[in-house]
Subunit: 119 residues, 2 copies
DNA sequence: TTAACATATGAACACATATTCATATATAAA
DNA sequence: TTTATATATGAATATGTGTTCATATGTTAA
């Protein structure tokens, strides 16, 4: 017994609980992916960008102006949002317009907001 | 016009859009709080702890055994979760049992999970 | 072509943060 | 009291990350 339970400095107090929980939780990869997703929402610049795109598609320059940040910082953050497939873009000449690429984004945002407002 | 729009290196392309978005988005403090909340979910150790506590209340030692991490690391993360009022605890002798302190936690978790599973 | 502009991107830097180690605190058992 | 155990916590360290700067890319206008 307990072949997976030896790498912490303390004794097991409730081995049954540990085993039961281990069986019920999603597999590690899923939880890591989930943390990665929330990490993307966990930066105020990215949250502001996401929130802005709820209202309207915007070009990089507009977002920079809105947030009073330089264009490079916004581009870097947009790249992260793009890689996570949370935003999509279309090009029109020199200008690149970004918009949201996932319906779940609003849901996740609203879930969090409900928590904030409820306190 | 444009008294708030001068701190980025590029010209304004769609001043009307920027103004409209600025009026509609929540105030900055709210968005910062929201990012702080998601940041807490954005770490795999904390997500695993939260997920485990959906199943059962657990003591520190059990969580450490479950995640195969040392007790100190778990205590530090529990402190962060406690400060965010996401978990609560009860003491029973030497043992401290942690459990979830907020109904929204499950909702937020599920929202994120739905996104992960939908891809 | 040349110049101007919107955006992207690599490197550097500063700062945040997760884990570990050592140790403190608190409680129970001997 | 002494010892053992569960948990908490400060310091140190290593790693991650957001922003800036310089510059590259790509497109439009002159």
């Amino acid at each position: 017994m307990g072949e997976n339970i030896e790498s912490c400095s303390c004794n097991i107090i409730h081995e049954d609980v540990v085993r039961r929980v281990r069986k019920k939780i999603p597999r590690e990869e899923t939880l890591i992916d989930l943390a990665e997703l929330f990490k993307i929402f966990g930066d105020s610049t990215r949250i502001k960008i996401i929130c802005a795109l709820f209202v309207s598609e915007m070009c990089v320059c507009d977002i920079a102006a809105l947030l009073k940040m330089n264009q490079s910082a916004i581009s870097h953050q947009l790249r992260i949002l793009k890689q996570a497939r949370l935003v999509k873009f279309r090009k029109e000449g020199k200008v690149v317009y970004y918009s949201l690429d996932d319906n779940h984004v609003q849901q996740i945002f609203d879930c969090g907001l409900a928590h904030i407002n409820h306190k």
